[in-house]
């Protein structure tokens, strides 16, 4: 019983991390319909950003959020404006360009750091909450709280603010949104910036948990894609719950089968969902095809 409980807790904490990483990808994917292969690298940049803040100003990773997140927002806006906006209606070229960015970012960081692993320690890293037989690492719990807060904030934002409504309008129909006087390009730039900022947030919160390497983004990106497809394209709560589903699957597969096979298990679930419900568990039916309609 306690081992089952332990697996569930491990799975939920892992799910919080996956949900956090997926949140930005889902926003970009859902609104702009861009498959951003470089999203994992944005998380990686966030982690290294936290490390740089720690190294030069001795900042705790949790405080460096206030530097890293705006920096990543800016980076995302620039990326969208100069690289992805010109490729708006060409999904293949987007894949091409974002994969180029992935290679570029990964290897620039590799060239700068020469592949050495770093961690950005936080004062919170040492704390562990013990509840009966369960040990809960505080830094992982923070990630779980953060993803919940981010999901709450995002769903409030898109429902209740003018900018959020504009983003939803653009998601539904670009042309109609443009005719209503919405600046589609600006909405995209802000959305991409927000997606990159969320990646930066994920990176800073993960910096105390994982040892950094330039390739670490690759560990998250597949999970994030699985979460996004599973949860439903463009659905904030879909990504949130999808994160927990993938986290729990990984925890159970790791305990009962073999940790080495976790990716294979994800894939089966992933493909199964794609076949049965291509729009994802919480997505709108047919959402997966809307993005491919010619939109101007």
């Amino acid at each position: 019983m306690s081992s089952l409980l332990n697996i569930i807790v491990v799975g939920l904490l892992l799910g919080g991390i996956y949900g956090l990483v997926s949140m930005g990808l889902n926003l970009i994917f859902g609104v702009i319909r861009i498959v951003n292969f470089a999203q994992g690298e944005l998380v990686m940049l966030g982690m290294y950003g936290a490390y740089v803040c720690y190294l030069f100003i001795g900042l705790d990773p949790y405080l460096s959020i206030f530097i890293v997140v705006p920096a990543l927002f800016l980076f995302g806006v620039i990326m969208q404006r100069f690289i992805l906006q010109p490729l708006q209606n060409e999904p293949m070229m987007q894949i091409f360009a974002t994969f180029g960015l992935l290679l570029l970012l990964q290897n620039v960081v590799l060239a700068v750091t020469r592949g050495q692993g770093y961690t950005a320690p936080s004062k919170l890293s040492e704390f562990v909450i013990s509840v009966g037989p369960l040990n809960i690492s505080v830094v992982r719990l923070v990630a779980l709280v953060a993803v919940t807060a981010a999901a709450l904030f995002l769903s409030w934002f898109v429902k209740n603010t003018m900018a959020g409504k504009a983003i939803r309008a653009v998601t539904q129909d670009r042309r109609a949104a443009r005719l209503m006087g919405i600046n589609v390009e600006l909405a995209f730039m802000l959305t991409f910036g927000a997606g990159a900022a969320l990646a930066g947030l994920a990176g800073t919160l993960l910096a105390p948990i994982y040892t950094m390497s330039p390739q670490i983004g690759g560990n998250f990106i597949m999970a994030a894609f699985a979460v996004v497809v599973l949860g439903g394209l463009g659905s904030v709560w879909g990504a949130y719950i999808g994160g927990f589903i993938i986290g729990l699957i990984e925890a159970f597969a790791g305990y009962y089968l073999d940790p080495a096979l976790k990716t294979a298990i994800w894939f089966l679930v992933f493909i199964g969902v794609l076949i049965v419900k291509p729009g994802g568990l919480f997505g709108i039916a047919g959402a997966e095809e809307v993005g491919l309609r010619e939109q101007n």
């Binding site: 894949i95 360009a97 970012l105 290897n107 894609f225």
Partner: protein, 348 residues
């Protein structure tokens, strides 16, 4: 040097069809062009036949050109942007290596099961994933590649696991292992020519037109009576079979294979697609042009720069990708044709 020579080979063959608008050539015309390209590449190989370093680059260039051409059948003509062709490549490599190491079956014979197995797996995994369109299909194929990587590490009895498989050196034509690198390059060139011929045939066949039709508009293609799923599956099977053969040749050339060599995304699975895109996706000769540019460039960078700056070759590759996506969407072939339209036509 080799790059400029062969590039002009591509352009000059374009000249022959100058009177006819490109795109309405017959299979026979393409065969003539392919013969011209083969002779040009053979001549270049001959010139450098004494330099093992350059020969190594050429062997890899021809192999990647060939596999990228195979990718182009489903990825370019059919528009199904697969990033999981590394799986079929690995299947070919592991099949051939296992048959050769454990049963001493000549690699030449092993090419047949390698191709069939790759095609069967391709059809089996594509059946469900072809329901997905555009980026969703690409994501699923990437996931497939990741799963194959996990499985290749896990089933060590077939793949040697993370330690990989080493193919013993027994030189001989029947073993497809050559003491002279020149002969290996000739083998790769032969495979390249085979792939060019198959591609030209597909391009000018009913299958090729169906693929191009569903690439342009899948719903319209279905409405005109094309059996979309069946056409995609046949295209994928041909593409995967050739890719499997490519993997087999790769295994016999390197004589050492392990999961990272065969299933790395930037070095294998995605590179096939990127080479095609840089050359000109969906065009007949694009992947060849792309490989002639990218593979030697990357080898040079890897040899020259990576010692002082780790990952320098991939930094350059990444930058090239972004620049091509932004400014040269139709790739090298598109640029050449544009230049031809602007300057070549007037001088006639």
């Amino acid at each position: 040097m080799s790059k400029t020579d062969t590039m002009s080979g591509v352009t000059s063959t374009r000249d022959e069809g100058g009177a006819v608008p490109p795109g309405i050539t017959t299979f026979n015309t393409e065969l003539l062009r392919i013969a011209g390209i083969a002779v040009a590449l053979l001549a270049v190989t001959w010139v450098y036949s004494g330099d093992p370093f350059i020969l190594n680059i050429m062997a890899q260039t021809f192999l990647f050109a060939a596999v990228s051409l195979s990718w182009n059948i489903i990825g370019g003509f059919g528009g199904q942007f697969s990033l999981g062709h590394g799986v079929f490549f690995a299947i070919g490599a592991y099949t051939t290596a296992n048959l050769y190491i454990n049963w001493q079956i000549s690699p030449w014979l092993a090419l047949i099961p390698a191709a069939i197995l790759a095609a069967l797996v391709a059809v089996a995994v594509s059946w469900p994933t072809f329901r997905l369109r555009g980026p969703f299909f690409s994501i699923a194929t990437i996931a497939l590649n990741e799963v194959a990587f996990v499985l290749a590490n896990y089933f060590g009895s077939i793949t040697g696991g993370p330690r990989g498989l080493t193919i013993p050196f027994k030189a001989g034509l029947e073993n497809m292992i050559f003491t002279s690198r020149f002969h290996s390059v000739l083998l790769m060139l032969g495979f390249l020519v085979v792939c060019l011929i198959v591609c030209a045939w597909v391009f000018r066949s009913r299958l090729g037109y169906y693929l191009q039709a569903l690439h342009l508009d899948e719903d319209a293609a279905r409405a005109t009576g094309i059996r979309v799923l069946q056409v995609k599956l046949v295209g994928m099977a041909i593409s995967a079979a050739l890719t499997g053969i490519g993997g087999a040749l790769f295994a016999m050339y390197l004589r050492f294979i392990d999961p990272p060599t065969l299933l790395s995304l930037p070095d294998i699975g995605v590179k096939f697609a990127l080479i095609a895109l840089i050359g000109g996706v969906g065009t007949l000769y694009g992947p060849l042009a792309g490989a002639l540019l990218i593979v030697p460039l990357e080898s040079q960078l890897r040899a020259g720069l990576s010692a002082s700056v780790p990952g320098a070759n991939l930094i350059v590759l990444g930058a090239i990708l972004i620049l091509f996506a932004l400014f040269m969407k139709k790739g090298i072939v598109g640029l050449v044709m544009q230049l031809w339209d602007r300057f070549g036509r007037k001088s006639q």
